[in-house]
Amino acid sequence: MADTLADTANEAAASLPEYPMAREGRCPFDPPAAMRALPAERPISRARIWDGSTPWLITGHAEQRTLFADPRVSVDEHQPGFPHQSHAMAETLDHRPLTIFNADAPEHTRFRRMLTGPFTLKRVEALRPAIQKITDDRIDAMLAGPKPVDLVTALALPVPTVMITELLGVPYKDHEFFQRHGVTAVDRDATPEQSRESSTALVTYLAEAIVAKMADPAEDVLSDLAARVKAGEVTVPDAALMAVVLLIAGHETSANMIALGTLALLQQPEQLALLRDTEDPKVVAAAVEELLRYLTIAHTGQRRIALEDIEVGGETIRAGEGIILDLPSANRDPEAFPEPQRLDLTRSARHHHAFGFGIHQCVGQLLARVELQIVYGTLYRRIPTLRLATELEQIEFKDDRLAYGVYELPVTW
């Protein structure tokens, strides 16, 4: 009897759709076909993940808002039943320290408040001239050099890398070091040894930098953290870890948005023209929100676990059950965004979930917005004849990465 029950349960699990699903090659900007109907038809369902477990899969925009905001929904990855991203993430669990990402309130609140100072609207707006200058410099270099050019290495990566290293107060000469270790440290397919080595290299470098700033402070994040160390609020290793978090979260994400956004716009020239032909910051700002929604590069499902029984959308999520909040689906929910599969830079899209929702919503969102407003607002105006230097079919997409994007984007003009 028990056997039969277990068999039935196994069969039921086997019949559930697998998550994540593959996108179709023909529509690299759209969620997988099997996911597209879910927000409207089954905003709350279940799916089977790599370890055979069957967590809840939340695809509806309203349902995601409710759960993201619910304090009974936890990011504590040590809870049994937590729906880990991958085998590697599950295996490295005990090596991953407590950070802003995997802490619940009240620890989360403490981490968060140490990081938010540099990301206020005032501080981020003050960076506009510097971001504009990096962007113009890189475009000058593109225009002066040979073509075609890979937009990822020429513009998309350097802009956020310079921004984040300047924000932290780290010399630009070390940016390649960050690039390499930052990517490996969070690569879901890296071996535990590889990701540990990279994290250690970054933390060591930054710890030394923070100690140096304690003696010789400047106007930057590492100096802010150094001051907190001096005040006894945080240890040097913990402060270094917080700086690493910003690096990891901030550079590949923005870079992917720049390159993938450009590719999407090159496929839809009438949309690109809206950006190219405007000087209105409001039009540019709205376009950025729509591209964030349409592309939703955080595409591997935010992972949570229920600490208590939760009623939502007519279902009961039991304490101890895993929850996956698939951001791309919510951003294509027709209830929240009419004609969701259409890229429409003029729509009002600010309620998108591209930065998540709830207390873990992106710390760097105002900075990311300004970076994207400047890059999208400058690139197509300065190079109005920009076009792809290859076929769409030749482009390799980051299907396997935490942040979706393209590995290379050959362009010419």
């Binding site: 408040r113 938010t116 206020t120 005032k122 309620h351 919503q361 969102q365």
Partner: protein, 70 residues
């Protein structure tokens, strides 16, 4: 109609959505970006953006009471 705005600093996570929507009504503390309320009773011309801010706040830190006078 009057609108009464309240903010809960302990819930705020300094995402900055409110200042982006309604800078006339919300500001942020310099040291950690926590919300500062500038206008408890914003004028009618601001009601729409304040509602937008409250709806976008990811941490449910903005409460609105809208009272019809009579």
């Amino acid at each position: 109609m009057t609108m009464q705005v309240e903010v809960d600093e302990s819930k705020c996570i300094a995402a900055g959505q409110c200042v982006l929507s309604a800078p006339e009504v919300f500001d942020q503390r310099d040291e950690d970006g926590i919300v500062v309320l500038l206008e408890q009773r914003p004028g009618a011309e601001l009601h729409e953006v304040v509602r937008e801010a409250a709806g976008l706040c990811p941490a449910a830190a903005i409460r609105l009471a809208e009272l019809v006078e009579g």
